[in-house]
Every structure is written in structure tokens, then in C-alpha cells.
Amino acid sequence: MADVDKDKLVQFLLRMGDNTLILGHRVSEWCGHSPVLEEDIALANTALDLIGQTQMWLGYAAEVQDEGKSADDLAFLRDVWDFRNLLLVELPNGDFGRTLMRQFLFDAWASVMLGRLIRSSDERIAAIAAKAGKEVAYHVERSAGTVVGLGDGTEESHDRMQAALDYLWPYVGEMFESDETDAALAAAKIAPDPSSLRTDYDALVNKVLAEATLDIPAGKFGHKGGRTGRMHTEHLGHLLATMQYLPRAYPGAEW
């Protein structure tokens, strides 16, 4: 374990694991509902990768925390206020286009973030990043390709993708917010300062959105509060009610 305050390391790991957990659950909501079979399978596979990554992040968080909890305990027995995911990933799926736009905006960030974490001074984090990075490289290839296909598609698909981007873009800025937890992890060379990811992120996102003939909204307003836990959207509680129902109603239930 790297040399940093234990609580701050746990915070960081929760932020990583809660992103993949909540997005993984959202994406899994599509199972059986996608427009075509291939997309249904693709979404379910993506969700599965994200849940797998969650086990690595939250598993490590539970170990560092050292309170006898498991990754499952952290996933299923915390309430809204204790979640540290970005607001972006808890937003409802909307239509297929919005789901894939959200996926692309997240995948682009994850690919840049994991690319840096591979060089983390914490060996376990570097190993998780190397493993997850391979999967995310595949995810971003697909989500970027779909954003281009639908954005530069028919008039209907273009308009829906532009509406999705207009709706989701104000949630992008939160990915690059920094606080004292980030500063401590950056000082210990465990994780990059989130603000340092912005240049690479913009380069990737601008290129794909230009190819998709979509315009990035001009407004500077940004929603935030998810990764600090200050304020989640109303949607997270509903998601948790579904996701956590079984282990809460039947404590200790095993598959």
C-alpha cells in the first residue's frame, strides 16, 4: 500500500469503484430491451466488464478500510450519501442514443485516467488499471464508433444525439474537479490530479464529436457533488432501491 492517509486512499477507491458500479448497473438495465440483439449483447457485456472492475476497486477499498467488510458490503449496504460516483453515471438511460453518448463521455475519461494509473506508485492500483484499461480500450472503440454512426446518421438520429450531448455535457466538468483528497494522492504519485486529464480528454472527445457532426454546447455551467458526496441527483436513490433490494431484504443471502 502506498504512503498516503488511509481514509483518502479509500475515498479514491470508492470514487473509482462507485463509477463502474453505478454505470454498470445502469447499462445492465438495457438487458433484454435493446433495439437489436447485437446491441443487447454488447451492452450486457460492457455492464459485465464494469461490474468486474467494481469488484477490483471496491475489493481493494474494503481491504484498505480494514473493517471486515467485503466489496459486496460496500456495494449493497451503503446509502446514497456514501456513494462517490460522478453524477453523469447515475443519470437515467434515456433512449439508446443517450445511453451510448453517456458511455462515450465516460469511456473517454476512463481510458485517459486508467492510462495514467498504470504508472501508479501503488502496485495494486497499477495492476487494476492495466487489467481494466484493456477492457475500456475496447469499450471506447465501440461507444465512439456508435456516437459517430448515430451522430452522422439520419436527421432523426443526429437530432437525438445532439439532444443527448446537450443534456449530458453539463455533467462532464465534474470529472476534472480536484479536492484535497486528489491533491494528497497526486503528491504520493498514486493517482493523477483530475484536472491534468482534461487536455487529453478534450482532444479525444473533440475529434469524435466533430466526426459525429455534433456541436459541444457553449455553456460553462456544470453539475457536481457526486464524487465528493455533497449532493447526488434524485435518480441515485431509485437506482439503489432496485440494486440493493435483495441483500437488504434477505441479509446474508448467497447466490
Binding site: 449483447i41 457485456n45 459485465l48 468486474g52 477490483m56 497499477a126 487489467k131 475496447y138
Partner: protein, 159 residues
């Protein structure tokens, strides 16, 4: 009744040979050794430690693989056994054996290629191929189709 317990510790080579008879739970024509998920075998005192690495982080087969390894080795008389998950270096399809690649193709699954797509149709050998989906029936596969014989087939993704 004869006593089937072993008096001497089997060698790592012997254990690998045993594990080479344990099929992958999702793609039973290849073994766990072919798949490249067995990363190390060592005796720590009288306990056998088997290091395994997951293929995809969320692959549901990972836990079944652990159970299958335990069952196979206990059947061979190994009583003290510990499985360890090894994350780094991350699994790559480069670790798949030549025997495994041939078995996959024979079974109708195109083996992974560094170029990122299948080399030929596993059914007819045709090389005019198209990708139907980047994902398939398991996390490790994608769906392709041969334009020669028009048959769809699975392609084992290269990672």
C-alpha cells in the same frame, strides 16, 4: 481398497498436465492451460499454491474455473490446496497455446489474431469477412460473418 493418496509431491509439470485435462467452462474444447489462465504452480511446504488470472474482470466463468481446478486436483489426491488470484501482468490472448488455437478453430471459433480480426472463416476458410458486433456470447468473443459461406461465427477477441 487401495490407498490412492500420494506419498511424494507431484511436480509442477505433472500438475500442469493434470490441469491440461480440465476444460474451460464456457469453451470446453480448450483446457485451462490452453487458455493461459494458470500463471504459476508452487509448493509452499505441503500446500500447493495455484496462481490463476481472470480473463475478463467480470467473466462469470472465473469462479467456476477455481472450483474446477480444486475438484481436479483433489481428485488426484492433493489435499492442501490454495488458489491465488494474480492480477498482474494482465491476461493476454498471447498466452493461449497453439494447441488451444487449433482446437478453437476446429470447434468453429476463429482464434485471436494480433491484427484485431479473424484471419479466415473457421467453417469454410473464406477470407472475405465482416464484423457483426464487437461483442459476443461471452466477454471474450465477438460476432463475425463470412461473406463466402454466409455463416456467422464467433471470433475470440485479441487482448
Amino acid at each position: 481398497m487401495t490407498d490412492t493418496r500420494i506419498d511424494e509431491k507431484p511436480t509442477a509439470e505433472q500438475i500442469m498436465a493434470w490441469l491440461d485435462t480440465v476444460p474451460d467452462p464456457e469453451i470446453p474444447v480448450i483446457s485451462l492451460v490452453d487458455l493461459g489462465v494458470i500463471r504459476g504452480i508452487e509448493w509452499q511446504g505441503d500446500t500447493l499454491v495455484v496462481k490463476i488470472t481472470p480473463t475478463y474482470s467480470g467473466c462469470p466463468a472465473t469462479s467456476i474455473i477455481g472450483i474446477d481446478i480444486e475438484t481436479a486436483l483433489r481428485d488426484r489426491g492433493i489435499e492442501k490446496l490454495r488458489l491465488e488470484q494474480q492480477l498482474a501482468p494482465a491476461w493476454t490472448t498471447d498466452w493461449m497455446s497453439e494447441k488451444g488455437r487449433a482446437a478453437l478453430e476446429e470447434y468453429g471459433i476463429a482464434p485471436p489474431q494480433p491484427a484485431g480480426g479473424p484471419k479466415r472463416c473457421p467453417h469454410c476458410g473464406g477470407e472475405d469477412l465482416e464484423r457483426l458486433s464487437q461483442f459476443g456470447s461471452t466477454p471474450c468473443k465477438a460476432q463475425w460473418r463470412c461473406r463466402d459461406c454466409l455463416e456467422p461465427f464467433d471470433y475470440f477477441k485479441c487482448i
